[in-house]
């Protein structure tokens, strides 16, 4: 499993496409796709939105994350702001952080992308 993280609009998807020769149709957007398609997709992006949608369905996003079989997971870093006032936003942020830790611990390689530059923060190039 490969994880690619970083802030919003830093070039994660572009990096994934070029590094792993993916076409647009190989990448599923967790913001709009069928949630059940996330589990076995080759590559998913915006995984933090899958966390939000799984929570909205009343399911445990961490159990959902444990079952992931994707090869490549793209996920925004979202935890660097002020604690949100809204309880549901706080819960989402917390679950996203924990889900990210689960993915990062399972992943053999973790990249962090900043300004379009990908740096390996765990493992090595696959």
């Amino acid at each position: 499993m490969i994880m690619i993280t970083g802030g919003a609009f830093q070039g994660k998807t572009e990096f994934a496409k070029s590094r792993y020769s993916l076409k647009a149709e190989d990448i599923i957007d967790c913001g709009s796709c069928d949630l059940d398609a996330v589990q076995s997709a080759r590559c998913v992006r915006n995984y933090e939105l899958a966390v939000k949608r799984v929570m909205a369905r009343g399911e445990d996003p961490l159990a959902f994350t444990d079952r992931l079989k994707c090869d490549i997971i793209l996920m925004n870093e979202i935890g660097s702001g002020i604690i949100p006032l809204e309880k549901s936003e706080r819960e989402w942020r917390e679950m996203t952080g924990r889900a990210g830790c689960i993915i990062a611990s399972r992943a053999g390689t973790v990249y962090r992308v900043c300004c379009g530059i990908a740096k390996i923060i765990k493992g090595e190039e696959i």
């Binding site: 802030g7 070039g11 979202i78 530059i117």
Partner: protein, 172 residues
């Protein structure tokens, strides 16, 4: 060209100024922050004091870098891209997507300047949905930053004053 990014108040400016310390003259500081209100005035004042005695000529320029004339061979510090992008988008004659306009402005500066250091900002890491207008700003700034980083010889992310080099070699 060197690009310096990082969060708020992490030592980006000090590092940027330090990068041009080895030059004694022909140094220009392009200030993009518009003096609106007390807090920006205080920030501008703080930055002026930081630069004092370092030999910079300050040029206040809020938009339209492509039309800015600077002497050729100058050493330029542009601060900061996040302000410039906001000015281009939300100023009086603001446009929706100033990406190309800003990139052209930077290319123009690069043809004139011997050395160009750009300070920008990381703004997309808090997961907050700010609505279409601000989300658009975060997207445009992210793209501009990635294009600048691709063209830059050196890219540095500042973390509490520590320069973490993302690309190239930091020449201090």
């Amino acid at each position: 060209m060197t690009l310096i990014t990082g969060g708020s108040k992490c030592g980006k400016s000090s590092l940027a100024e330090k990068l041009l310390d080895r030059y004694g003259d022909n140094k220009y500081y392009i200030a993009t922050m518009q003096p609106f209100g007390e807090e920006t005035l205080a920030a501008i004042d703080r930055h002026r004091k930081l630069r004092a005695g370092k030999g910079f000529v300050t040029i206040e320029r809020y938009t339209g870098l492509a039309e800015l004339e600077i002497p050729s061979g100058s050493r330029v510090l542009l601060e900061c891209m996040a302000n410039l992008c906001a000015n281009e988008m939300f100023g009086e004659s603001g446009i929706n997507d100033p990406e190309e306009r800003i990139i052209q402005g930077i290319e123009h500066l690069r043809t004139l300047a011997e050395e160009l250091v750009i300070v920008t900002n990381n703004v997309g890491s808090d997961g907050i949905d700010y609505g279409a207008e601000t989300n658009g700003y975060i997207r445009v700034l992210g793209r501009i930053n990635a294009r600048l980083a691709a063209a830059a010889d050196c890219v540095v992310e500042c973390v509490y004053g520590i320069p973490a080099v993302l690309k190239g070699r930091l020449l201090l």
